[in-house]
Symmetry: C2
Subunit: 572 residues, 2 copies
């Protein structure tokens, strides 16, 4: 007879540890659903502030930093949730223009909710069959949009665009330097000879995202072995400079292996010339990665001009694409797509973790031999294998469905569920509208800037970012401003001589706007090359992204007005 | 006059692109809340299958792989959601014992919902003030639980335990090899002299998680420079072997810099002797990392014996702790804690991304000078700065609140919101009950196994994992089984002579159980050292984690019964 002390299983109800989560969920849902829906509504209608800014010391007061010994139960966390909502930026408000994302959509919220309710984990098929299938198929569909061959390409989600870029560099590194996984790069003299060692060198433009440099640092390649290629005056990579640098590196006995093309730079929203870069990369046998974290969404646009910005992606080896930016899928949902599929990715990064990646699928299928009749009763799904599907399935080996072994991690969020439900709800046409409306908003706003006397458009917008300066009326007599006072609103891109005092205006106005909280905006400075090839630091300008799909002319005018008002307050 | 074509802003309502997400959220919530709550209820009451297993080709039929041109709207995605729920494992069912996590709680679901509704991004303070403050404070509280000095320690969340381990290794690498970030490891002869290069070597036990090896690979250190330390027969690291290996490495001119202690191995749930390891690490100036992904939750236990397993964490340099495992916070919520705070982390990994990390806070504070009276109207919060709080705040420099610059990423999910709300709801006592109930379940189940004639307990459970074999009655005459038929239920740990045929039983029964879907279990094999120091491969056994806090004696008996029934079906 088994002797178990069943008292062990009696828990205090004070600890809220009974299996009644359905009731708690219902109760919380009832109490919170109106709070949530009002939050969304007041955000989208700009009734609430974008942000009621509190300083850290004020927030520490609010959130009671000491975790309680006894649980606070429902009432306790509802108060916490209200504080979180109240003192975080309301991203549903179109005035949230601080970062390169906006709110998600109701569908995005529900998608994350579903992923959380199943507590999905798409590392092995058996733990997340549906999410795994969605991720494999969706990556292929996305690859096809970018011009890859759908039957060959593949992809997966990573926890953010930086992680995707990092993973792309890792796969390229291990592909070009096959000894690296086992031996690393700290080679002895004899190992260098044996492996025919050449110094790995990577290239990116000086406008790229900082994750490229961090990835070089992380992967043991060293920041100094990332060469920053000059940009043209428009902020796109100078292909002549790139090729010269590649040739030089080869002359020095180095091995150029990776070029990062930025499709949508963080400040100007500029696109490197991907097609030209692919030709150079092909010529020198270099991995071409496209960091389309920001600009990848433009692949949904119906405008030919816009699509041309991404021309050449089909020839790249890999693409990073963040659906959590312009498409409004909840943070995080970043795709890393590979032209040649995931087989090489697995070969480069997989590890022999047989406690996890034993082939469940085969084991389960094999088990059918033991009780063949069970299959009918278990699945009522009328599955008829057609030739078309067989073709599709032949593209995958059994292990293709365990996505985790193509990553450097273990458990992973099934982010594709959110993207999938969004795509199903909005359709390709809905994504197109969303993207094109953002682009319309930014170009309309640029037009508005040009027609407003106290504003100077820095550049015509390329994607959904608008960069501009404001000059307070009371400051127009400042002699420092002379060089730009007569600048026409559609000045030549080659004009880079912006006085530093503009940065002061930008920063002080931004700070006041953000403190007031009706509009949350950000600024940036960049370094550009002038026609002589000298690097010029451009003082801080307003950099406003148009991420929300819901802008109208009133919103655009509101931005202008708010800047004018803040300007008059600070510079009366 | 501004000339804008406002038609640009008219979008087709067919594209579901109007700012009415509150209505859509309400409508979806109304249609889904009962579906969700029934799903939770039927799971927890084991009314639904854990998994209705479909093969990939069957799922492809269900999910319509071609994304639609026109959106499917609400009705479309509700059908999708029902498929996701139906054909994913129901982790709320206590019979989901396949992986090292179970369902989340209702509070976890709501926590993720809040994080998604704000579309929170805790990379810079201004984008997520509340989440940033919570993350900074909570990491300190967790560090204090593990014995760190709360006023000094710090931490942050990473996207999973592997990412946390990876980051710990990166910070250690850059700390011990300060040239690595800039130069990488592919050094020339003269650089090696200049930097006084010594080959970096890291150590971990052969029972560790595979992410340690993957991290060595990823960081350019090379898998071969990870030395696998022998374990004692109990599966914990052999400290004598470790010290010998360290000495040997030093004799060879190498630089041992990192020891990974596993606190809760993936198969046996064993703990390396952290305190002893810390003494060795101190002696040789080595970074001690504790991978407590699995076992870190035990810090909440009220049992002295259990807490002793984690003895020594206070002396470690860093700790990985996954609250998404035993504590039921939704995937993902992994903490990486640093004894000495985040300053060194920032120094080792931060990058100069001034488009993102300009000091908003100072800018905002400075702007108060322009309109000092605004402060009253903006914030109705009665903030009185006290001495106590000033002391707390003095621990942080302004940049401490921008967490992103202490990571290798950019945008990041504010995972701490989920952990915070869970802790607030359940309290420290609730977490203690949860953990101790899991431990009680596993020890009770081990007792049950020992009293069941057709089962052999492989080892007494150390944490919440139980490893055991089953012998089908009809197979007892197999001569291969002779060595173990008379094995007492509490056999000596030194017995390692398990016949291979046991693996066949384990795998076939597991496969049938998983196909039937009332119970989802997994198996594992490991390599252990016998007393002679020879490595013995232990054939696959059942490895069942007790993650759910809701087990009762019926659940435990159900597992035994299901295995017996499957066994009788396969081996009649």
């Amino acid at each position: 007879m088994i002797q178990l002390n069943t008292d062990n299983f009696n828990m205090s109800t004070d600890d809220h540890m009974l299996p009644n989560d359905a009731d708690i969920f219902d109760s919380l849902n009832q109490r919170l659903s109106l709070i949530f829906s009002n939050y969304i509504k007041n955000g989208q209608e700009s009734k609430d502030f974008v942000l009621e800014y509190l300083k850290p010391e004020q927030l520490i007061d609010l959130i009671s930093p000491e975790p309680p010994l006894q649980g606070k139960g429902e009432q306790g966390i509802i108060a916490d949730i209200q504080n979180i909502l109240k003192y975080s930026p309301n991203t549903w408000n179109p005035g949230f223009m601080h970062k390169l994302y906006s709110s998600t959509s109701a569908i995005g919220v529900v998608g994350e909710l579903v992923a959380t309710i199943i507590n999905g984990n798409s590392h092995v098929y058996v733990a997340s069959p549906v999410a795994s299938v969605i991720e494999v198929l969706l990556s292929k569909k996305l690859g096809a949009l970018f011009g890859y061959n759908e039957s060959i390409c593949g992809g997966l989600t990573c926890p953010g665009g930086s992680a995707s870029n990092n993973m792309a560099l890792l796969v390229a590194r291990n592909t070009y330097f096959p000894y690296a996984a086992e031996h690393g790069f700290a080679l002895s003299y004899s190992e260098k000879i044996k492996f025919n060692f050449k110094q790995p060198v990577a290239f990116t433009s000086n406008q790229c995202h900082y994750s490229i440099e961090k990835s070089m640092m992380m992967l043991g390649l060293g920041k100094k072995n990332l060469e920053y290629v000059n940009c043209n005056i428009n902020g796109a990579m100078d292909t002549i400079d790139l090729e010269n640098r590649i040739k030089n590196a080869i002359l020095q006995g180095k091995r150029p292996f990776f070029v990062n093309a930025t499709a949508g730079t963080t400040v100007l929203g500029q696109f490197d010339p991907i097609l030209k870069l692919s030709q150079i990369c092909q010529k020198y046998d270099i991995w071409l990665h496209v960091d389309a974290s920001l600009g990848g969404s433009l692949i949904f646009s119906k405008s030919e001009t816009t699509l041309n910005l991404l021309n050449g992606t089909a020839k790249s080896n890999s693409i990073t694409f963040n659906s959590h930016k312009l498409l409004g899928v909840p943070l995080q949902c970043s795709y890393l797509l590979f032209r040649d599929g995931l087989d090489n990715v697995r070969a480069q990064v997989s590890s022999n973790a047989n406690y996890l990646f034993h082939d469940d699928q085969d084991d389960i299928n094999n088990s059918l031999a033991f009780s063949p009749n069970d299959q009918q009763t278990l699945s009522n799904n009328n599955f008829n294998s057609s030739n078309k599907k067989s073709l599709l399935l032949n593209q995958y080996s059994a292990e293709s469905w365990d996505i985790g072994n193509a990553t450097i991690g273990c458990g992973r969020k099934p982010d594709s569920i959110k993207m999938w439900l969004s795509w199903r709800y909005f359709g390709t046409n809905g994504f197109a509208s969303r993207v094109d409306n953002s682009l319309n908003s930014s170009s309309s706003f640029a037009t508005l800037i040009k027609s407003s006397p106290n504003f100077i458009l820095f550049r015509e917008p390329i994607s959904n970012l608008v960069c501009f300066y404001h000059i307070p009326i009371s400051q127009r007599n400042d002699p420092d401003l002379n060089p730009i006072l007569n600048l026409t609103s559609s000045h030549d891109n080659s004009f880079l001589n912006f006085p530093d005092v503009l940065a002061t205006y930008t920063k002080s106005i931004t700070a006041l706007l953000n403190k007031q909280g009706k509009l949350l905006v950000d600024f940036a400075s960049i370094n550009l090359f002038d026609h002589d090839g000298s690097l010029v630091r451009i003082p801080e300008f307003f950099r406003i992204p148009f991420n929300s799909p819901f802008f109208n002319i009133d919103h655009l005018q509101f931005i202008i007005d708010q800047i004018e008002i803040a300007s008059a307050t600070i510079y009366p």
